[in-house]
C-alpha cells in the first residue's frame, strides 16, 4: 500500500532561485494539501487542491503557487527563494475536499536555502 510520496527528499537551493516540489497522493485520493513546517513549529497550511481546483490558501506570498494534475498529483512551486523558506514541506492527501477524513501525510521534502 503506497502512501503519499514526495520528491525530492532533500534539496539545497540558493537565494533567488526557484524550486518545484512534487507529491503523489494515495491512490483514489483526489485532494492534496501542502504544509510548511519550520523547525520548532507545527505545520502551516499553504494550499489545498481538490479535483485540480484550489480549495484553500494560507497566508503565504504570491511567490508560492501550486497546481494539481489530472492524475491528482501535485506540484508546489516557490519563486525567488528566501532564507526563511528553509523548512520541511509536507504534502497530505484525503479522498475528498473535507478534513473529516484523516490527512495522510508524506515524509516531506527538506528544503535548505543558502
Amino acid at each position: 500500500d503506497a502512501g503519499v510520496t514526495q520528491s525530492p527528499t532533500h534539496l539545497i537551493k540558493t537565494r533567488g532561485q526557484h524550486v518545484t516540489l512534487r507529491c503523489s497522493p494515495i491512490s483514489g485520493h483526489k485532494s492534496v494539501s501542502w504544509y510548511q513546517q519550520v523547525l520548532g513549529q507545527g505545520p502551516q497550511f499553504i494550499f489545498q487542491y481538490y479535483e485540480k481546483e484550489e480549495r484553500g490558501r494560507g497566508n503565504f506570498p504570491d511567490r508560492f503557487s501550486a497546481r494539481q494534475f489530472p492524475n491528482y498529483s501535485s506540484e508546489l512551486n516557490v519563486n525567488a527563494l528566501l532564507l526563511g523558506d528553509s523548512a520541511l514541506y509536507l504534502c497530505a492527501s484525503t479522498p475528498g475536499p473535507f478534513y473529516n477524513s484523516p490527512l495522510h501525510f508524506g515524509n516531506g521534502t527538506r528544503l535548505t536555502v543558502t
Binding site: G3, V4, S33, Y35, G40, Q41, G42, P43, Q44, F45, Q48, R55, G56, R57, G58, L90, A92, P97, F98, Y99, N100, P102, L103, H104, F105, G106, N107
Partner: protein, 111 residues
C-alpha cells in the same frame, strides 16, 4: 482567524503516570478538532478527532466549548506514547477549507 494554542513544548512523565496535553482554540463557529501524532522516524498521522468520540491507544479528548479546549488525556502513559503531538482545527467556509495546527508538544515517557 482561527488559532490553536498548545501552551507547553515538552511534557516528561514516568511510565504509568497520567498524561494531559493541553490545547486551546479560538474559532468563531462550530469547530472541528483533531489530534495528530508523529512518532520517531514516522509520518505525521491522525490520532483522533472530536466528532468520533473515540479512544485511540488509550487516549481521549473532550471538546469543552466553554473553556475552548480540547485537551488530550491518557490515564496511564506507556513508553511507546513518546512522540510529538499536534492539536489542529478545521475551518470550512464556502469553497475554502483550511486546517490549522498548533506548535506541538513533545511527550517523553520515561521507564
Amino acid at each position: 482567524a482561527q488559532r490553536v494554542t498548545q501552551p507547553e513544548k515538552l511534557l516528561s512523565v514516568f511510565k504509568g503516570a497520567p498524561v494531559e496535553l493541553k490545547c486551546n482554540y479560538s474559532y468563531s463557529g462550530s469547530p472541528e478538532l483533531f489530534w495528530y501524532v508523529q512518532y520517531s522516524r514516522q509520518r505525521l498521522q491522525l490520532l483522533l478527532r472530536h466528532i468520533s468520540r473515540e479512544s485511540i491507544k488509550g487516549f481521549t479528548a473532550d471538546l469543552n466549548k466553554g473553556e475552548t479546549s480540547f485537551h488530550l488525556k491518557k490515564p496511564f502513559a506507556q513508553e511507546e506514547d513518546s512522540a510529538m503531538y499536534y492539536c489542529a482545527t478545521h475551518r470550512y467556509t464556502g469553497a475554502n477549507s483550511k486546517l490549522t495546527f498548533g506548535k506541538g508538544i513533545t511527550l517523553s515517557v520515561r521507564p
